[in-house]
């Protein structure tokens, strides 16, 4: 599982850094290294571009896993360079951005857009497979999530736009309901597709979503 990100347009980063001339950059050694959006190489390249803009890069770090507890330690160890900056540019996913803003009392600015939580199905190709809906139906859809794999998140079978196994929004994208149909058929479980699914509960866990483990 990876948090899938893409770098924001540089113009947007430049604009967000508008009032700040000293920047500290933080990348992440896990997901964004893997997706080449916030590993060491990308962090150094960003540093160079910021210098070209006339900014001072007070320091940089690639935190092993920006969303976990060790981040606090990494921040403490680099406190000098961080204090010397007037903002932190984060090249981790939004979870990392959150984590850093809990520990650092300075403007924390994301350099990336977090797109989805995905898995790597083929080398270098990531696909969203779960939208954390709170009411999993994978057991009845042959392990293919209709909420993420179907463009419209439909529960009761294909829409009228399904075309030779492809989705109406993009001829390159598979129609989730054709995939589900094929797999259920292979498994001899097509009855599940004949079953009526009532409207979803969109508030299984109303936002803000949280839970307490006891």
């Amino acid at each position: 599982m990876k948090s899938i990100t893409k770098q924001k347009p540089f113009k947007e980063i430049e604009q967000q850094l508008g009032g700040f001339d000293r920047v500290y950059i933080a990348g992440c050694g896990t997901c964004t290294t893997m997706t080449k959006t916030g590993g060491k190489e990308e962090v150094l390249a960003m540093g160079k571009r910021l210098q070209e803009l006339g900014k001072l890069v007070t320091g940089w770090i690639v935190i092993p896993t920006a969303c976990d507890e060790m981040t606090e330690v990494a921040i403490k160890e680099n406190n000098g360079a961080i204090q010397n900056a007037n903002c932190i540019l984060v090249m981790a996913c939004a979870l990392g951005v959150h984590k850093l803003s809990t520990y650092i009392n300075k403007p924390v600015i994301p350099a990336l857009d977090t797109l989805f939580i995905g898995v790597e199905d083929e080398p270098g190709h990531f696909q969203e497979v779960c939208a954390q809906c709170g009411q999993c139906v994978l057991g009845e859809t042959a392990g293919i999530c209709p909420l993420t794999a179907c463009h419209k998140g439909l529960l009761n079978g294909p829409c009228g736009g399904t075309n030779n196994g492809k989705c109406e929004v993009d001829k390159e994208k598979d129609c989730a309901w054709t995939l589900i149909y094929q797999r259920l058929k292979e498994q001899g479980r097509l009855d599940l597709m004949r079953k009526y699914y009532s409207p979803r509960d969109y508030n299984v866990a109303p936002r803000p979503r949280m839970t307490q483990i006891t």
């Binding site: 998140g153 829409c159 075309n163």
Partner: protein, 296 residues
């Protein structure tokens, strides 16, 4: 008083419906003209609901205009733009204004339309929408609360007889039948042999099937539809026939083809009627009906 669409469906006569596309803007002259042109020539008129996710004057507005002018409207309702509250509210409103027919659709994806950044709702799908209508008819809203005054609709849906693969489409068709669909307007069909096979299957269900007839205006359009519109296949002989039409005569050829198909469907009692779509060329629907021998 003219019979309601439900009564017409029950009567066993060959049913003819057509379609009105509302304008993008407040200039409704042309729409009203189309309504006046068609309302007495067909049994009911659909009004599209932001077709292809292109923002337009609302379906309900077109339906009210049809009603005011003495026609029988079919309210097309997609799940793309409204959640379950908004859908129910619109059904309540439609009922109080004499609208009695609803065509339940999931709706096209937002990204194929002209507001690509909009939020696609899809709180319900077409099957759930059908069931919701039946539940409202029983006096309860979708939340299970009593309604003070209920609704009654003749509810329909769509089916694509030539979808590929076909089995998921048929399973969905059956789900819609079970959900209470009374009539189906099909995606455009051009191959009557294939359609006959579909009808052999569909006949076993207690629903009325209106074959979708989309006017072809050129060989190019026919090819485009085959390549791009899901579940639509124009046989080569029809494409050739259109291509062979003298310059400026392709439209007339298309009218002739549509008329001929309708006449055959009727003569051979292949299904219960037709739904004629002349997207953007509503003017010629009377000519199609004439070519089919359905109008004077």
């Amino acid at each position: 008083m003219a019979p309601s669409f439900k009564e017409v469906l029950k009567s066993g006569k060959f049913v003819v419906t057509s379609e009105i596309g509302p304008p993008k803007g407040t200039n409704i002259e042309k729409m009203l003209h189309h309504i006046d042109l068609l309302k007495d020539k067909v049994d009911a008129l659909n009004v599209t609901d932001h077709q292809s996710s292109v923002m337009r004057f609302p379906s309900i507005g077109g339906c009210l205009a049809i009603k005011e002018r003495g026609g029988e409207p079919i309210l097309q309702m997609t799940c793309r733009d409204r959640n379950r509250l908004a859908l129910q509210a619109e059904l309540l409103f439609a009922y109080t204004r004499g609208i009695r027919n609803v065509l339940c659709l999931t709706g096209d994806a937002v990204v194929v339309g002209d507001h690509k950044a909009a939020k696609g709702v899809f709180d319900l799908d077409s099957t759930q929408l059908l069931r919701m209508i039946r539940q409202m008819e029983s006096g309860k809203d979708l939340g299970g609360n009593e309604l003070d005054g209920t609704v009654e609709f003749c509810a329909g849906a769509i089916v694509t007889p030539e979808a590929n693969p076909i089995e998921p489409q048929l399973m969905k068709f059956e789900k819609k039948v079970e959900a209470g669909a009374e009539f189906f307007q099909t995606q455009a069909i051009y191959d009557l042999d294939k359609f006959a096979k579909f009808m052999q299957y569909a006949r076993q269900f207690p629903v009325k099937i209106l074959a979708g007839i989309i006017l072809l205006v050129s060989a190019r359009m026919a090819k485009y539809m085959t390549e791009n519109v899901p579940g639509v296949f124009v046989p080569q002989n029809l494409i050739d026939e259109l291509a062979a039409a003298p310059k400026g005569e392709a439209l007339n050829k298309g009218i002739e083809i549509a008329g001929r198909m309708i006449a055959t469907i009727k003569k051979e009692a292949m299904c219960d009627g037709v739904h004629v779509m002349a997207i953007g060329k509503e003017e010629v629907v009377p000519d199609i009906l004439k070519a089919a021998g359905l109008a004077a």
